[in-house]
């Protein structure tokens, strides 16, 4: 009973997007219209940590939490790339994760999108040139959108995903 009353006292905590960011609101509306055709506003996301410092992961898990609540846009994180439509890749791709990343990409049924999250995924960041790093994500698999930042905020990641959806091929 205590739990239930606490739930009701707290109320919905999901934030609307900051009003000062009309661009996102616009993007959401626009993408909503477009993505409805292909992914029907239902997007399965598979997160792949290709060697990140877990900074990006913390931000991504913020995306799933009640404040950002990505589920309201129909995004949900799935347990297997077979169920996924979009791969969210973080970190510079280490040598150990090169093959797994490629395998994950292969395992994902098309049509599929790839969003690389964080500076490391784009440029390898401070790990650039390390003997343990195989390269940035786009050197291993085709990437649709990069989300810059170290780490990027959940809102940025969301924007990146929405941008990728905007670029998605449209179903007839």
């Amino acid at each position: 009973m205590g739990l239930l009353s606490k739930i009701f006292r707290t109320g919905i905590v999901t934030e609307a997007f900051p009003p000062g960011d009309p661009q996102i609101v616009h993007l959401v509306r626009e993408v909503d219209l477009r993505s409805r055709r292909l992914f029907g506003r239902a997007l399965g996301i598979r997160e792949v940590d290709a060697g990140s410092c877990n900074g990006c992961e913390i931000e991504i898990s913020g995306l799933m939490g009640p404040v950002y609540d990505s589920e309201r846009f129909g995004f949900h994180f799935v347990a297997s790339p077979r169920h996924a439509d979009l791969l969210l890749v973080t970190g510079p791709v280490t040598r150990n994760m090169e093959v797994p990343l490629r395998k994950t990409y292969e395992a994902t049924p098309s049509p599929k999108l790839v969003v690389a999250v964080g500076d490391c995924a784009h440029t390898c960041g401070v790990f650039k040139g390390s003997y343990a790093v195989a390269g940035s994500v786009d050197q291993i698999i085709p990437v649709d959108v990069f989300v810059d930042g170290c780490p990027p905020e959940p809102a940025d990641i969301l924007r990146g995903i929405l941008t990728a959806l905007g670029r998605a091929p449209q179903a007839s």
Binding site: V48, S80, P81, R82, M97, P100, K103, E106, A107, S110
Partner: protein
């Protein structure tokens, strides 16, 4: 005429095996004899059960009556429909088993002669066919022993394996133990004039005191229960059945143990004419316990054929649940429900013969292809043996009581009989029924789990050994045999409309059950299957057709709705691991692990894990050996003490063992004198 042809067929097969011994001629002729015999047996049984007049039984009576000491002959006139059911079961499995043996024994060429196994197979079939037809003690016991001896010799086919010898010893011991009880039961029933005729026995039994009748029944239940494999008399079964060649396993598991059921019905209904409620209660309880323990031990088995043998114990349990419920209802004068119980038991007898025969033949094909019975070395066989896999899948679904196959329909009838148990006036007895329902439901759920394991580990996934990788599809004759039985599983399920009333007629008239007209079901798609006393209705045929229709309609629907048809083949998803090896798969032991832990109170599992570390570092493992054992309760705490006692006693008796022929002759004479003396005392 047909009866004679049946006998002649089996004898011909036996003779052919003895004469030719090897080569394709021997294989084909041996099988042909058995197939002719089986076909005749089925014809006789169908004619009798469904009431076609082929006028054959009368002939045999005349033939068999000739010698004075037979007193009544082999077959009663008219034959008992109950016997006909069991005769039919023998014949129905004999045909595919014989067909199967053509391909199966081909692998013996050059290694093993067909002389003994072929001849014994036919004689085994002959004696099994004649057991239910015997109408007096002498013939019955003769055929019963014939069946035991021939099957023992068949079990010993691969006598070079020590395991086989061990299994054979157990089998021989238990079967003779059972025979002792059967003989005792018969002799207690023997009328004063010494006529061993069953009709005379039944007449004499009516005059016996209730206590003596109960004693006879219990003796018969022990005797026939040991043949049927009722817990705790089942210990021989899981070792003897797998040791035999697979087509013989199919016959032993599918048919021979059913004659134990026949024996119980013969005594309980025909000879003793029903009895107090506790007889039925005892049978029901033993059945429920066997059903549950059978499947629980099956779950722990990784030897495919042993697993199937444990499932025979489970299914015998289900049959006895039906029979026991029927006997209980009979004693409470609830004839309609009693018929339902017996019909459920008999129907399951027939169905189990089909799917267990099928499964053993399937296991035989796997053994034939991979040369192992250990499931942990199989895997991926569905790609190399697609047809065997399909047939085995049908059998697995049938034994798991999945609709619309036959196993479901007969279990449904048994369930309905038990649900009717609420009408038993004595409530403290009636509570047995829900308990039996719960145990039966648990057993059937666990059976489904067990067959997901059996089929999944054996046929699905990736091959776990070189042999499994090299497996090849079974020869055509084996495939045809399995296909026939798989078809039978489907047809027997859909044919419930004909089977239930026919079986109702079979038990009608036995021990005061109502006449056949009380059980009627007309043949139509719309008319559901329901029997008097049952509380529910089902229609197996529309279920079958409906599922088939849906299976066709869904892809068409997908096609019409223009769903994507793109398909790509890729690796199995394994969280991005580099390469997949067979060892990454779930094993049979792993599959059963949750249940092993849940039923730990029964299994008392002990695990022993030995890890071989790399000499340089404990972080690198070179090999891990994992062994899990469960306590074999019955062997350890029931049989071992008895055996030890017997051996100790025998050691004491050994004192008179001198090795001198004269001493032995003296013993003989002494025994003779004592016997004569006793006889004289009796006479005076």
């Amino acid at each position: 005429m047909i009866f004679l042809l049946m006998v002649a067929g089996y004898l011909f097969g036996a003779l052919a095996a003895l004469l030719f011994a090897r080569g394709w001629v021997a294989r084909w002729l041996t099988a042909a004899g058995a197939i002719i015999g089986g076909a005749c047996a089925v014809t006789l049984a169908v004619a009798e059960v469904f009431g076609f007049d082929i006028g054959s039984f009368q002939i045999i009576v005349v033939l068999a009556r000739r010698p004075w000491w037979l007193q009544g002959g082999v077959i009663q006139d008219p034959a008992q429909p109950l016997s006909a059911v069991f005769l039919g079961v023998v014949g129905a499995i004999a045909i595919p088993a014989a067909l199967y043996s053509i391909g199966y024994t081909r692998a013996w060429e050059g290694r093993r002669s067909l002389r003994m196994p072929g001849a014994m197979l036919n004689l085994f079939l002959l004696s099994m066919s004649l057991v239910p037809l015997a109408e007096n003690i002498l013939w019955f016991v003769l055929f019963w022993e014939g069946m035991a001896v021939t099957s023992y010799l068949l079990v010993m086919t691969e006598a070079e394996e020590p395991e086989t010898v061990h299994a054979g010893n157990w089998y021989l011991g238990m079967t003779q133990f059972g025979l002792g009880f059967i003989l005792a039961a018969f002799f207690l029933l023997l009328p004063p004039d010494g006529s061993g005729d069953f009709t005379a026995l039944a007449k004499h039994a009516a005059t016996l005191s209730p206590g003596l009748k109960s004693l006879v029944f219990v003796l018969a239940l022990i005797g026939f229960g040991s043949k049927a494999g009722l817990v705790p008399l089942h210990v021989w079964l899981p070792s003897a059945h797998p040791a035999a060649p697979s087509h013989v396993s199919a016959l032993m598991s599918g048919v021979m143990i059913k004659l134990g059921v026949y024996g119980v019905l013969l005594f309980g209904l025909r000879l003793l004419g029903g009895g107090p409620a506790w007889w039925g209660g005892l049978v029901l309880t033993l059945g429920a316990v066997s059903a549950l323990l059978g499947v629980l031990y099956a779950l722990m088995e990784h030897d495919l054929k042993r697993l199937l043998a444990y499932h025979s114990i489970e299914n015998i349990g289900i049959i006895f649940i039906g029979v026991g419920a029927g006997m209980m209802f009979l004693s409470y004068d609830l004839p309609a429900l009693a018929v339902l119980g017996f019909v459920g038991g008999l129907y399951h007898t027939i169905n189990h013969a089909c799917f267990k025969g099928l499964l053993f033949l399937g296991a035989g094909s796997v053994l034939h292809a991979t040369h192992t019975r250990n499931m942990e070395e199989m895997g991926g066989l569905i790609k190399r043996m697609p047809r065997t896999a399909l047939f085995f899948l049908v059998g697995a679904a049938a034994i798991s009581a999945l609709p619309p196959l036959n196993g479901f329909v007969s279990e449904w009838v048994v369930f309905q009989a038990l649900l009717g148990g609420a009408s038993i006036p004595q409530r403290e007895v009636a509570v047995l029924m829900p308990i039996a329902v719960a145990m039966l439901a648990l057993a059937s759920g666990l059976a489904a789990a067990c067959f997901v394991k059996a089929f999944g580990i054996t046929f699905l996934g990736i091959a776990r050994s070189h042999e499994a990788e090299q497996a090849r599809e079974a020869p055509v004759s084996m495939q045809v045999a399995m296909a026939a039985l798989a078809l039978a599983c489907v047809v027997l399920g859909a044919a419930a409309y004909a089977m239930v009333p026919a079986l109702g007629r079979v038990v009608a008239g036995l021990a005061g059950l109502p006449p056949a007209s009380a059980v009627t079901v007309s043949w139509s798609l719309r008319v559901p299957l329901s029997a008097p006393g049952a509380v529910g209705q089902i229609s197996p045929l529309p279920i079958l057709l409906g599922l088939a229709l849906l299976l066709v309609a869904i892809p068409i629907g997908l096609w019409l709705s223009r769903a994507s048809r793109a398909l790509r083949v890729s690796d199995t998803w394994g969280c991005g691991r580099i390469a997949q090896t067979p060892r990454m798969q779930y094993t049979a032991a792993a599959f059963a692990e949750p249940l092993r832990r849940i039923f730990a109170a029964l299994y008392r599992p002990t695990e022993d894990v030995s890890i071989d570390f790399h000499p340089e570092s404990r972080y690198f493992v070179q090999s891990i050996a994992y062994r899990a054992h469960i306590i074999p309760w019955f062997e350890r705490y029931l049989y071992d003490p008895v055996i030890d006692r017997v051996i100790a006693w025998a050691a004491r008796v050994r004192a008179i063992q001198s090795g001198s022929l004269h001493a032995y002759l003296t013993y003989l004479v002494a025994a003779l004198v004592i016997m004569l003396g006793l006889l004289m005392l009796w006479g005076s």
